[in-house]
Symmetry: C2
DNA sequence: CCGCGGTGGTAATTCGTATAACTCTGCTCC
DNA sequence: GGAGCAGAGTTATACGAATTACCACCGCGG
């Protein structure tokens, strides 16, 4: 009803009739099919008619005919919900679009029934592949149906090892963070981790391992009293930072295994009247854009390369073929701001 | 290759062959079509064969035949990127799913070409409707193509008035926030707004109007010196709060037009050695989940009902029909935490 | 012995597009 | 002057599911 010609149901037959040619001609001309020859006059008429009628190809008919759809499924336990992980979709969507593909997204919120049902729906839409994304890095069980189509696990690892996975390089991140603090001259470096290291949480395990490696490499003996476990939230950072600084031998620097924890530590230090980085240095992890740059002083932290990871997931899908279950690790670059300085007085180690 | 029967290309004909019946029978049985009668034995065989072969309906064939697809397009200038607006997608997706529909999402990042192209793609997929969502509440120009399909504008208003819009009730929010402060006994209430009120930013205009109305209703004369304009960021909150408190007659309470601004104010007050809410009370706006609950003390703020707004957008789409360009406003409930208390000393007004 | 109604199912068509195979008209060339 | 061929299109079919119209069979009444 909008413009005269833009009825939603305009088909190639309508265009053909308007241009006075056959439907096949319309198809061939509009798709600029290779190896066919039509007079300039005919091409002109077809294009004119198509434009006039507001013709738009019916994607379903095309898919039915060609067998493969221009869509990729993106299932996550969060997708939209998580504040910072939006980047991961942004990257995926951008890359998909470059390949002319649309993203069919569902966030299950952890609901396994919804997950199964939406995967079924996606498969009936003949998606070219499925990205199975997780909010945080862990080891997870991938639904069997995904084996029917190219799939990749994003920001987590597939326990069964059937699917290619993409994950951040946690250990190196932990190492880099700690090394940065060591290089600034710190010797008593605490770590407030996110949750227990029961092996199901590669972020916690890896970051801590990197922390230990850096310490060891510097010839330092890790003080168990400086290693604490929060829950990845502000309160965990707050409580643990408070306990740490009130202890007998407080650290001169704290590595917080995520930015939220670091924020809690900021609040604790502020409450104790300690200044950052003068009295104590801090390094975070995640480079959460709503947080890290806006703390005072700005938080030095490690960036989770979500944009690239999202892009890469689609890339792998498109490459298809190989389909081994190997994991591709992404390095987390250090982004320096102003929460790290040299310690006040060096607690000499000999 | 996974399980024997789960080839991706299993069609009704395959099932029919396996069950020893016709394709029509398979269709009728599987869809449990009304008014048809098949023997129990036949039904059983059909279901068994379908299950055995891992049959899954081809959505494209169905759409082609039936004309309407089980998908809704969701286009945004952000979609994933914005930290808190994820809720809006979550709500939309949940409601869509209840209706058996999938969401086809694209975040354009403001790129108009991408926007146009993805709308075209969505329309070729015969989406049942399109939600056109914006990151922040404003007045925007909606692409003409949207007129071809049921569409609704989410978290913004359509300038042309052709499409139904859904937006938060900013004025009432500003009023509620201010009233809350008045009720606590405050008389000198400042406001740090987000950006200029040039009419293109309903959030800024509305929240300020509500602030003025509440003041007027309380018989107070707004002090222009207490009204400041930030940029909606932390730094705007920081700088303006600092200026406000260092002024000749500092306020006893500040209404910050968003949570990020409020956070900046927290930092400024902390720097000045002022405590919240003892020395000054604060109210924010947005109830940003990564921020408001984690500030110390927790920030009293107004919630943007994104989940409901997202749901409602889909609801309107499904209702279709009417299609007037009216705007539906959503109330922003006050969520009380601990940043508001009675003022220290009342600056009596007579 | 024919017709009739009910039961249980099937054949054929439709949706919109892509494409392989085919037709028809001129023209050239020997 | 007919073979051959290039040029310009067309016809027909397939993709997978839904649906309408139809058909075959059986038992029974008249």
């Amino acid at each position: 009803m909008t413009r005269p010609g833009s009825r939603s149901g305009t088909t190639m037959n309508d265009v053909a009739a308007a241009a006075g040619v056959s439907q096949a001609t319309v198809s061939l001309v509009l798709n600029d099919a290779a190896g066919t020859r039509f007079s300039e006059e005919t091409r002109r008429r077809v294009h004119a008619a198509a434009h006039e009628l507001g013709y738009r190809t019916n994607a379903h008919a095309k898919v039915l005919r060609d067998g493969v759809a221009g869509m990729i499924g993106f299932v996550g336990d969060f997708v939209a919900t998580a504040p910072f992980a939006g980047k991961i979709i942004e990257g995926a969507q951008a890359r998909a679009w470059e390949a002319g593909l649309l993203l069919l997204t569902v966030n299950t919120g952890g609901d396994k029934d919804l997950e199964a049902a939406s995967l079924e729906a996606m498969l009936s839409y003949k998606v070219a592949g499925v990205v199975y994304a997780a909010m945080y890095h862990r080891v997870l069980d991938v639904p069997d149906v995904l084996a029917e189509v190219p799939s990749v696990v994003l920001n987590s690892r597939d326990r069964s090892g059937r699917f290619p996975s993409i994950a951040p390089q946690e250990e190196l991140g932990g190492y880099t963070a700690t090394k940065h603090l060591l290089d600034a001259g710190h010797r008593r470096i605490a770590m407030i981790n996110i949750g227990a290291e029961d092996g199901e949480l590669p972020a916690a395990v890896g970051r801590h391992a990197g922390y230990l490696r850096a310490l060891k490499e510097a010839g330092l003996n890790p003080d168990p009293g400086l290693h604490r476990i929060g829950e990845g939230h502000e309160s965990g950072g707050f409580d643990n930072a408070l306990a740490l600084m009130r202890g007998p031998q407080p650290p001169t620097a704290i590595f917080c295994a995520n930015d939220r924890t670091a924020w809690g530590a900021y609040q604790a230090l502020s409450q104790l009247g300690l200044s950052i980085p003068h009295d104590v240095s801090l390094v975070g992890f995640d480079n959460q854009e709503t947080l890290a740059p806006h703390l005072r002083p700005g938080l030095t932290t490690l960036e989770l390369p979500f944009l690239e990871m999202g892009r890469r997931a689609i890339e792998l899908l498109l490459a298809g073929a190989e389909r081994d279950g190997s994991t591709e690790y992404f390095e987390c670059p250090l982004v320096e701001r102003h929460s790290v300085a040299a310690p006040l007085k060096t607690t000499s180690s000999h």
